[in-house]
Subunit: 332 residues, 2 copies
C-alpha cells in the first residue's frame, strides 16, 4: 500500500547552505481517516524564502518556528483520494499547508478547493502566496500612481515578477533587479519591463541611473544586498518602500545595517514592512484584484520545478544563490 | 537712527562646531518702507536644528539652502513699528521668517499676526514650528491609540517635550530620552512622563527595557545616535516610527547607517519621515488640535533664551551637545 513519505526538521540552520543533516526523511504508513476527515495526495509543494524564517529559532518572527521533530511547513496542492467529509469528494483539487509529506489526513480546516482546470504550476505561482503577496504589497503598501517609477528587487522571482507586471498593467515605468543576464532578458523581452539590471554587475549606480532617469518613486524590496543602497539613494521625495523580503540577509549571522535615516527625513520616505499572514483574511479581495490581470493575459509566470520530495532540501539553497528561475516548487 | 543689525552666511559648515568665521555681522541703515509695506522690529528669533540643513550645500534637502551672502534664515516674532500697509498697524505683534536681522521691511507675505497677550517665549516654543511639528508627527504620522507605549528621543527639546505631553494627554505610556539627568528629572517630575532615560548612560538597553515593560509601539525620532538601535530593537509588531530629526548625524561627514531592515519585516514596522514645510497649509487645523491641550494646561514648555543677535551663532552648537534646556531662542 502507498506509504506517506515525510521530512522532519531535526536541527536548525546556522547560516550557510541548507544541508541534509538538518532533516530526517521517513516512510510512514498510509494515514487512516476518521469520520469528518479526508485524505489528500499532495501533487506539488511550494518552496518559499519564508522557510528560512520558519526554520530559525527566532521567536520574534511573525510565524512561530517549526518545532524540531515536526514535519517541515509548506504550502501545496493535491487531490482528494479518499473522503469521509461532507464537503470534500474524491477527485477534488485542493490547496493547503500540507507540509513536506505526500499523504495528508485532514478535517479540511484551512484547506481550499481549486478550479480543477488550474495547473499545479499556475496555482502555486500565481493564485497562492506569491500572487497574494504581490497584490497586497503593490496596491496596499506602495499605493502606486500611473507614471511613477517602480523598482523591484528579486524581480524574476515569484513575487517580484508579479509586482512588476502589475506595475506595467497600471501604467508605471518598471525596472527590475535580478541576478543574471538571462533573468534580465526575460523581464524585458517576455514580461515587458522597461528595464532590468543585473545586481551582480559593476557600475550598479550608473546603470540604475540610466534606467530611472526620473528617479525612483516606489521600491518593492525582496532581497536586500547590493541593490538596496543604490535604489535607496535614488528615491524621490515622498517615495514609498515596501519591505517584503531580505533573502540576501537571511543566511548572515549579522545582518547588514540599513541605510542612514537622513534620507528618510530629507525625502520624507515611508518604509513599510509587511507579511502575508497579517492579510490572509483579505485574500478573497486580493485575488479579485489580481484575477482580471491574469485573465487579460498581463501576468505571466515561470515555474522552476524540482522532482521528488527530497529535492526540497537542496532546493532551498537556490534562493540563496538566486539560481532559481521563477517560482520554485517540488513535484511529488 | 536705529540701524539694522544683520548676520549673513558666508561659508558652509564642514562638520564639527559652528564657528563665527562662517558668518559676517554688519550694521545696515534702517530700511525704508514703500506703500504697501511695513517695518518690523524683531524681538525674538528661534534657533532650530533644521538650520544645519539650511546651511549645508546639499540640494537634496527639502528646503533650498541659504545662499552664501544671504541673511541667515530663521523664524521670529516682532512688533510693527511703522506701516504703510492697510492690514498691519503700528503695535501689531507678528510672526514670520524674518531671518537673522533686527529690522525687516516687508509686504506682509507669509507673516501672521499674533494674539498680543502671547509672550515671545510661548509663541516660539508652542504656537510655532515646534507645536506644529509635534502635532503633525504625533497625530498624523504615529496615529496613536490610548494605552500604547511611546518613546520620544530629544524629549526635553522643543518638539519632543510637546510630543510626550500630547502622549500623556491622550492616555499613552510615555518614556523620553534626553541627554542629562536634569532634563530627565524635568520630564518625569514636571511634565509627567512615565519614565525618562539619559542616553549618555551605560546600560541603555537594560534601562529602556525596565521603563517599557510592554515593548514600544510608537517611536518619535528626534536625534538618532545611541538611543536609536535599542529603541528599534524593542519595537512591537505593527509599530510606527516618525523620523523628525537626526541631530546626532547632522554634523557627521558620514552619517551612521540605520538598523537592518530585518525587523522591518519581522515586526511589520512603518518608518516614516516628515518635515513641516510639507504640511504648513494644514497649520490652522494642527493648531486647532493643539490649542485645547494648551488651554487645559497640559502643555508646559521651557525656553532657553540667549541675548543679542550674535549669540545665535554659538547658540547652534548647543544642539550638537544637547546642552540647550528647552526651546532655544535669541532675544534681540
Amino acid at each position: 500500500m502507498e506509504t506517506n513519505q515525510t521530512i522532519r526538521l531535526i536541527a536548525r540552520p546556522s547560516g550557510g547552505p541548507i544541508t541534509e543533516d538538518l532533516f530526517q526523511i521517513e516512510e510512514q504508513p498510509r494515514p487512516v481517516i476518521e469520520d469528518g476527515q479526508f485524505l489528500v495526495r499532495q501533487t506539488s509543494l511550494s518552496l518559499d524564502p519564508a522557510m528560512f524564517g520558519w526554520m530559525s529559532p527566532d521567536t520574534d518572527s511573525y510565524i512561530p518556528p517549526v518545532q524540531l521533530g515536526d514535519i517541515m511547513r509548506s504550502n501545496g496542492v493535491g487531490e482528494v483520494i479518499e473522503s469521509r467529509h461532507p464537503d470534500f469528494s474524491v477527485g477534488d483539487k485542493v490547496q493547503g499547508m500540507f507540509g513536506w509529506q505526500t499523504l495528508i489526513a485532514t478535517d479540511g480546516q484551512g484547506i481550499t478547493k481549486l478550479d480543477p482546470s488550474l495547473s499545479d504550476e499556475m496555482a502555486l505561482s500565481v493564485f497562492s502566496l506569491p500572487g497574494l503577496t504581490a497584490t497586497q504589497g503593490f496596491y496596499h503598501v506602495l499605493k502606486p500612481e500611473a507614471g511613477q517609477t517602480l523598482v523591484v528587487s528579486g524581480a524574476a522571482g515569484s513575487v517580484g515578477s508579479i509586482v512588476g507586471q502589475l506595475g506595467k498593467a497600471e501604467g508605471l515605468h518598471v525596472v527590475g533587479a535580478a541576478g543574471s543576464d538571462e533573468k534580465c532578458d526575460w523581464l524585458v523581452n517576455e514580461l515587458g519591463f522597461d528595464g532590468a539590471i543585473n545586481y551582480k554587475e559593476e557600475q550598479l549606480e550608473e546603470n540604475l541611473a540610466a534606467l530611472t532617469p526620473n528617479g525612483i518613486d516606489l521600491y518593492f524590496e525582496n532581497t536586500g544586498g547590493a541593490i538596496q543602497t543604490p535604489v535607496f539613494n535614488r528615491m524621490n521625495a515622498h517615495g514609498r518602500i515596501a519591505v517584503c523580503g531580505l533573502i540576501a540577509d537571511y543566511s548572515l549571522e549579522t545582518p547588514r545595517p540599513g541605510p542612514s535615516w537622513l534620507n528618510v527625513i530629507k525625502k520624507r520616505l515611508t518604509i513599510q514592512g509587511f507579511t502575508m499572514p497579517d492579510h490572509l483574511h483579505n485574500a478573497p479581495a486580493l485575488l479579485a484584484q489580481l484575477a482580471p490581470h491574469v485573465k487579460a493575459g498581463k501576468i505571466q509566470y515561470r515555474a522552476h520545478v524540482l522532482e521528488g520530495l527530497p529535492s526540497a532540501i537542496s532546493g532551498l539553497n537556490l534562493f540563496m544563490t538566486g539560481s532559481n528561475k521563477g517560482k520554485l516548487m517540488v513535484r511529488l
